[in-house]
Symmetry: C2
Subunit: 311 residues, 2 copies
């Protein structure tokens, strides 16, 4: 019986994963990351932020699955076993979820959703003027599978959409800005910036003061990619001084965001707990079960992380 | 010089209206509702919830404008001067705004936006499973200009959409349920109910226990029409007992919602202050200025309230 070790969501999370795998892969044995076990007996690993060295100590490991949309929490382990296929979590609903999150975040920002939530907390009835979608130029950083789905949703809501990307994607209705030399022009025309970039060395801390100050005054920001991309103190400063009028951040460093972090209480910042494109555990378990069945039948899993591209 | 009297948003609101009219209609004199004036000198009125009898006491009144999307706050005055044209506030952006609000509210409900806001208030990092748009069957009550725009936005986001309406509208992609006899079937297939009905005697308190209990258990509710349509105590009870899993209400009776009303603090209810399709004051002022220019040139304003239809 193949063995899958799981580190995602603690003991409570493991209980849920076990239940879902029992339903969709009854022939699979699931093992909690913190439970006693023989590392040499493990065939598969489903992990988020595994402690460095743990994966390398599993000699039979045939495949690693990231339990979330990125793999950066795995590959930052210097001893990460590069020879083992690393599958990116891409159940069919992930792009749809991201599109829904980005659409929600964009509407939440133009509608003043944070201000309305704070008003609700103190029983304050207050209307205020706000822009509509056709008046709000969205700029997407990153036009991969997630970005393309987000672009379609935003265009359908009436937002003008541009994208900043290395190579042209030819998405209908999306104005493209290609490469580093086009970044200033892209930022200058962007009222609402959405970061959907992969976490690579080039994109480290891209959402910091120089970039934010190149946006029009009062611009809005969504980061649904990684905490890796942002300098949170620069974002808080830009919100304080009005360079940004609002932000929705789904990602942080570290995660979970510590309970006493000033981001939680900022009146123009909405915090969500890294849920932008998080499929349900049931969907993710089905995806992993299908990949393992494929492997057991001699097939090739995928999509795999590509170290050369960095995502 | 034509005189426009204004009751909308109090003294603070009037100052803003005056500024906008000065920009778009410099030949118009604006008068605050509470300021001393001769009622016989007033040509036009821009009002929300005027005290009964005040409009009837203006013998020269040539046209009444509602400052919001409905006219119920005007026509419930028994002395409302029926012979004076009553223009519904319909600047070009109103349907777009409503579509954006309904899209925001629907995404906010399936994403657990209220739960995330309460978590943010106490620095709690918690993810939870939630449905996606294609799994959430939306039911629109009312397929007028607002409903049609909302349907288009929801369909583009991936929601299956049905509509309950008196007469077929033939909207692409929208399943139709016609008339009272189709209401039970419409409710039985609706996971997320959106009320966009006009306020007529037939729709009084339609959102009450019998209707709510005909929805699938755990359904969600958006009311972006009028407080007229809802029994708030029935909605709160349905939320408490789990028949409704969440609600977004933009409208109440009375408005403003009193600061001590239990709706403000319900953990599964999001309160917004009657802003669903509220255009900016600048847009509304331009619309009224254009209508007045039309009238002064001998033209016919519109769209007018039709007492026979009730909207």
């Amino acid at each position: 019986m193949a063995k899958l070790i799981i580190k995602s969501g603690g003991a409570e999370g493991f209980a849920e994963w076990r239940r879902h795998f029992a339903a969709c892969a009854p022939g699979l044995e699931t093992i909690f990351w913190e439970a006693p076990h023989d590392p040499a007996s493990i065939d598969y690993a489903l992990v988020w932020d595994p402690e460095p060295g743990r994966l390398a100590a599993m000699p039979r490991l045939r495949c690693i699955f990231s339990s979330g949309a990125g793999v950066d929490g795995i590959i930052r382990d210097p001893s990460w076993p590069v020879h083992v296929p690393l599958v990116r979590m891409t159940p069919p609903g992930a792009a749809q979820r991201m599109a829904e999150y980005v659409a929600w975040a964009a509407l939440h920002l133009i509608r003043g959703g944070r201000r309305m939530a704070l008003n609700q907390a103190c029983g304050r009835w207050e209307d205020f003027d706000h822009p509509i979608a056709p008046e709000t130029r969205v700029g997407l950083m990153g036009l991969g599978v997630m970005g393309a789905a987000a672009a379609r949703a935003l265009l359908a809501l009436g937002f003008p959409v541009a994208g900043w990307t290395r190579r042209s994607k030819g998405l209908p209705g999306v104005e493209e800005f290609l490469g580093d030399q086009a970044l200033p022009a892209f930022l200058a025309r962007t009222d609402l910036l959405v970061c959907l970039l992969p976490a690579t060395p080039e994109t480290r801390h891209i959402l910091s003061a120089p970039l934010l100050s190149a946006l029009p005054r009062g611009a809005m920001l969504v980061n649904a990619a990684r905490g890796w991309h942002q300098k949170i103190e620069d974002i808080l400063a830009a919100l304080d001084e009005g360079q940004l009028s609002g932000a929705v951040l789904d990602v942080f460093e570290p995660e979970p965001l510590p309970p006493d972090h000033p981001a939680w209480s900022h009146p123009r910042l909405t915090v969500t707990p890294h849920v932008a494109s998080l499929p349900s555990r049931a969907e993710r378990a089905r995806f992993v079960a299908e990949q393992i069945a494929l492997l057991e039948a001699g097939g090739t899993p995928g999509p795999l992380f590509d170290p050369a591209r960095g995502y």
